[in-house]
Symmetry: C2
Subunit: 109 residues, 2 copies
């Protein structure tokens, strides 16, 4: 495996995957339960959501906390690193929002 060629390369690797940006953005407002995330992020399946959450957890971007209750309660939140990442993502979100129409128009598929 080749080392990252620049910071952008590394960042892209972290937020890579179909659902990670959505997850990051959803957690922006505070901790969320698994089921809440699932409902918030339209179209995601349980398997995909967990998979991506686990990857973000392994990267120390999100924190997973289990409350031993019945029914089980698991909360996901951003770590300090995750919050700093979200800050860095803000301009990109703004860019996308500003050019939404052209981007929708030139979209493949």
């Amino acid at each position: 495996m080749v080392p990252y060629s620049c910071g952008l390369d590394a960042a892209a690797d972290v937020i890579g995957g179909k659902w990670k940006p959505r997850i990051l953005w959803a957690l922006h407002h505070g901790p969320m339960r698994f089921g809440e995330l699932r409902r918030e992020i339209a179209g995601v399946t349980e398997k995909m959501l967990i998979q991506q959450l686990r990857e973000l957890e392994a990267r120390d971007i999100v924190h997973r906390e289990v409350f031993r209750q019945v029914p089980p309660r698991v909360e996901y939140s951003l770590t300090g690193l995750g919050q700093s990442l979200n800050v860095a993502l803000a301009p990109l979100d703004a860019w996308g929002a500003e050019h939404l129409e052209i981007l929708e128009a030139s979209r493949a598929g």
Copy 2:
């Protein structure tokens, strides 16, 4: 196809793909010939480079200009939209650079 759920979603779609961030970053310093890009971006194949360039061109992120010469000369440069994208990408690059070590450490592979 579902509309983009937020600006970040749209932006991620534009810079998605293994080589696009590298291409954007390489063009940051000004127009480049195909061969120059190829040498600058270590590991990319001709097919992949062209494919990604064409996609970026279709999105109006890069501009392609052909000089009818012998040998052929083709230059790629950022459009206005591409430059604004690069500006929005800068904080993300800085974030990646700042946490390069942890990110390398927690990398899968």
